[in-house]
Structure formats: C-alpha cells, structure tokens
C-alpha cells in the first residue's frame, strides 16, 4: 500500500441548489415553516480510484461532468457527502495560479504570502526565492507593488512559484489554459521535467494531446461517473467519441433550423460524424424555388473558414436539365476536424443567384489515432536523405 499517493473511495457529492435563495433573516422569520424547495444535483456518483506514486494522472471530462468538483474534493476544498479521500504525503493544489496575490504588496511580499498559503514557511520560501525570481525574469521588479506589474508579469510570477514548489503530490487544473504560446511552451517543458523526475501529478484538462503526451494513466468522467479508466490513449479516444455524440446532436438541431430559413433544402445522407476516407453525400433540393436551375455549386470550408475545395456543374460540364434535386458526393480525405458546405444555385447566368446558402450542412471527421499525418489534407510526400 506504500506506493499509493491518493486513494479515493466511494466518493459522492451532491449540491443542494435552493430554488429561491432565502438569504435574509426577514424571509426566514416571516415564513419560518415555509418549506424550501431544493434541487439535488448529483455531481459525483460513487467514484473510486487510486493514484500511485510517480504517476502523471489525468482527469478528463466535458464541461459540467464533475471533474472540477472532483478536483476540489481531492484538494480538500469541498468535502464529499459520502466516501473518503486519503492522501499520502504533502499535497499542493493549484486550482488557480497566484491565489491570495495582493496588488498592494510588493512582488517579494507576495511570494512569501503565496508560499504560506501553499504551506511553506519563510525559511523554505527563502531557499526557493532566487530561483523563483530568476525563472520569472523579474529580478528588477521585486520591490515594486504588484499593481504596477503587467498581467503577463503577474502570471509569470505566479507560475514560477508554482513550479518551484517541492511537494509529494501536485494537483493542476488547466494551468495551460492561460498565457501566450511562449508561456505554454514553458509549461510543456515543466511537464516534461516532472515526468522524468517521477513527480506525482494530477492534471485536469480538456486538451487530449497533453493527456496522450504526458499522462501515464487517466480517467474519463461523464455525468459524475468514471466511464473509462486506464490507458491515456483509450481515455482520449473515448473523450473524443463523447464529444462526437454531442456534436452530432448539435448538427441535427442546426440542420432543422436551416430547413426553415431557406427554400432550398440541403442535407447530408447518413452520419454527421465520419471517419477519414468515408464518403459524404450532400443532397440539394430546390423544388420549392420554382425556378429553372442551370448551375449548382458546392464549396467545402474548414472550421476556421478556410476554403478547401469547390466545384460546380457548369465547370464540370454536367447538365442538370430539368432536375429539381441533385446529389453531390465527395470522399473525405481531410484531417480530423469540423467542416461545412456552402451551396449556391444559379439561373441562366452566373449573375442570377437563386439562393446562396452560407451555412450549409456540417460534418466532423473523427480523430483517428492510426493516421500518421497531421493537417487539413493528405498530400503525397516522400523523404530522402540529402
């Protein structure tokens, strides 16, 4: 049992959310026996797991899945309704960087204050002081008040305190979500060093690449339950799968909205979430337009609005004749991500635009761990020693 750093046993947590908060004594005095109605929100349902010493442990889940609540329970900020959490050794949680920073104090005073809040006395902080200041690159500013720091400087100071902290277990909550690219690069370096030092880490994150790259084990939480436990790659894929379900629902809702907005009906046949290489069938039906269509154009766009591919019937010398409905098929040789179509239907000339659908059907190409390339599209390539 000596190699267990944190053991979580049958932890349940629910929040009582009053429908109308009785925040004043008056309402309590006036209606002393009025039954307050609560909504019991079960955030965590009987969760158990163990984290071993030296593990880089990931906790992933969608927003509202209960992962932040779990983290706060691990950190001792919330207490569970049922169950227990046991921690071996010293644990330092970072729910947020720079907790307790006071703008009226100087940089060095804030270092000591923050250190004390994290459980380190002045002597211990003095030993780390020089390294903290050097890492934050703030040597000249330590006697200035924090309110005169730029926000970037404040983050740097907070982060350097965090990484100098010597603790048996570190708990990190999406620390990577803040800061610019250079800062995130620093975080990555720190994670690398943690991993090589066999520091026990619990990381809560949305970023699956971080999970795959650093975590030795992970759990996926959804609606207060652990769905997947163990291999980080498996957890990351299950997480993507979970997201796809939600994306699928969203896409369906959007297409219903689109159908009422435009006369021309545009729909995909089959799934909205597909794998790399599968076919996508787009059906365009302009029977309600009561106009003769000479040209049908379909354009494919990426998530960031990048124009990927476009074609139309005139350029392809395909004669629509008197059709009121057409099908367009492409094969999805694109990287994982979200894509959408834009559709234009034209009359006798290009200038006679019958309808232009800016927000055509969307689809998602699933992340495929077996693909050996990255980016928007596969391009033929070769390597040669030179």
């Amino acid at each position: 049992m000596d190699d267990i750093a944190i053991s979580v046993k049958n932890v349940s947590k629910s929040f009582k959310l009053p429908h109308e908060r009785n925040s004043s004594l008056k309402s309590t005095i006036i209606h002393p026996f009025k039954k307050k109605t609560y909504e019991h929100q079960e955030v965590l349902k009987n969760i158990s797991f163990e984290i071993k010493k030296g593990e880089f442990f990931g906790i992933v889940g969608r927003n509202g899945s209960g992962k932040s609540t779990l983290l706060k329970i691990l950190a001792g900020i919330y207490s569970p309704n049922k169950g227990s959490v046991e921690v071996q050794g010293k644990m330092t949680p970072f729910i947020e960087l720079g907790v307790g920073f006071n703008p009226e104090l100087t940089g060095s005073e804030n270092i000591y204050l923050n250190g004390a809040l994290l459980g380190f006395n002045r002597k211990e902080m003095s030993a780390m002081y020089d390294e903290i200041v050097a890492f934050a690159e703030l040597e000249k500013f330590m006697d200035q008040k924090l309110k005169n720091y730029s926000s970037g400087m404040q983050v740097r100071l907070a982060f350097s305190i965090a990484i100098q902290v010597q603790s048996d277990v570190l708990i990190l909550d999406e620390v990577l979500a803040v800061g610019d690219e250079a800062f995130q690069k620093k975080c990555i370096d720190v994670f690398e060093s943690y991993k090589s030092k066999k520091q026990t880490i619990v990381l809560v994150t949305h970023d699956m690449s971080t999970v795959k790259r650093f975590c030795t084990r992970a759990i996926l939480i959804s609606e207060g339950d652990i769905i997947t436990q163990g291999n980080p790659n498996k957890v990351a894929n299950d997480y993507s799968e979970l997201n796809n379900e939600v994306i699928d629902k969203n896409i369906t809702a959007k297409s219903e909205a689109r159908a009422t907005r435009h006369k021309t009906q545009t729909n995909l046949i089959g799934k909205n979430v597909i794998k790399y290489g599968e076919d996508i069938h787009l059906v365009v039906d302009w029977s309600k337009c009561d106009k003769k269509v000479k040209n049908l154009g379909v354009a494919l766009y990426g998530n960031a609005g990048e124009y990927i591919f476009g074609a139309n019937t005139i350029l392809d010398e395909y004669n629509l004749k008197d059709a009121t409905k057409a099908e367009y098929k492409i094969s999805a040789h694109m990287g994982s991500g979200n894509y959408h179509f834009k559709i234009g239907i034209f009359g006798d000339t290009d200038k006679e635009i019958i309808e232009y659908i800016d927000d055509g059907p969307e689809f998602t190409i699933k992340r495929n761990p077996d693909l050996k390339w990255e980016g928007l599209s596969y391009i033929k390539h070769e390597w040669k020693k030179a």
């Binding site: 004594l25 207490s79 907790v99 307790g100 009226e104 004390a116 809040l117 459980g119 006395n121």
Partner: protein
Amino acid sequence: MKHIFSKQNKALLSELVRTDFKLRYQGSVLGYAWSLLRPLLLFIILYVVFVKFLRIGNGVPNYPIYLLLGIVLWNFFAEMTSQGLSAIVGRGDLIRKIRIPRWMIIVSTSISALINLTLNMVVVIVIAIIGGMHFLTSSVFLPLFLLEIYLFALGITLFLSALFVKYRDVSYIWEVCLQAGFYITPVIYPLSLIKNVNVQKLILMNPLGQAVQDARNVFVTHATITNSEVFHNQFIRIIPISIVILVLILGVWYFKKHAKSFAEDL
C-alpha cells in the same frame, strides 16, 4: 489537534497577520504611527468631553485612566467581532481556491485585533505614567481579564462569521447589538453612577461588564465596583465566566459544523 500548531499553520498565520498589518495603513503618510496616534487622539477627545465638561467621573480615583481602559477594552471587543464577522466572506477567494484551515482566518483577524490592543495598552500605560498614577501590584492579573474578553470575542466571532456566510443580515444586526452593548457595559460611565443595585447586578452578569470592571479594579483603583462586591452568592459570581465558556464552546461547535461547506455556500 496536533495539526493546529503545525509548521505550515504557524507560517500561514504569521503571513496573514503580517499582510493584514501592512495593508492597514496603506497609503497613509504616517503609516504605523497611526496605530498609536489614533487611540491617543481619541483619548484626548474623551478626556475633554467626560473629564472636563460632563464630569461624570468625579469621585473616582484616576478617572481618566479608568475611562481610557474601558474604552480600549471595549474597542478591542468591538473591532475583533465586527472585523472577524466578515472575515470568512471577505476571504472567500482563498476559501474557494485553496485548502487552508478555515479557523485560521478568524484567528488571524483576532491576532490583528490583539496587536492593536497591545499598542493601545502601551498608550494607556504611557498616559498613566505621565499622569503620575500609582501602579497597583494587582496589575499582574490584568492579562487574565484581557484573556477573558478575547475568548468571549473569539466565541462570538466564530459563531457570527459562520452565520454571516448564510445570512448577510448578521452584520447589520451585530452593529446594533454593539451599539446597545456599548451602553449596557460601563464603558464611559462609572458603575457607581447607577444607584439601583439590581441594575448593577444585571450589568455585571454580562461578561464584558464584569471583565471591564475587574480589569479596572486590578489596574486602576480598588474602588471599582466588581461582581464579587455586588454578588454575595459564589455561584452567581461565576455566571459571567460560564457565559464566556458557553459562548466559546457554542461558537467553536457551530463554526466547525459549517466550516466544511464554506467553499460551496460562499
């Protein structure tokens, strides 16, 4: 219990008190000097009003010191409870994001108040020396009564600060209570001014009234009316101290019960 005096807790406590003190006179030219200057100036006003104009203390030996000691003790009680009351809510940012013992926040504000009390006592002693007061040997018992007031205030603060998390009305109610308490406690008037013995007894049942009178008795003049003088029954004499113990136990119990959910309720 062994965690209470752990190394981390001591470091945290000293850092919280230090910060509190640093920030108190932030932006003022005289800085820390205000912690001595403020009670001194207040005393001059009181001296002029009560000793020179109203003359209600005639007949009480060393009345200026008698008055000042009462004011200092009352201010300590009022400051500690009213600042401690909002301490948990005021430190909500810490409670929601970090694991620190909740009671630490209350203790740190109470220590700030204690430091202020010490400075004020220095002013009292300096004025007593300047005024040529003859120091009583019984003064050695003075800390006992300061401790009594501290524990009473601590119990109340623990209770109120936890209650304040749920009911924000508490601060207004307490403000009124303090105002009433100021007149119920013989702070600005000598107890001898009240001729009705039953009212005197009632005033001395109150732990603050008893402690203030006892403190004056041991420090300023033995002519102070204390509860050992008013009450002849030994058991009634221990009522005030029993109230203190009861309030402290209640305060600790209530605080402990609700401390776990502060992070959610805030």
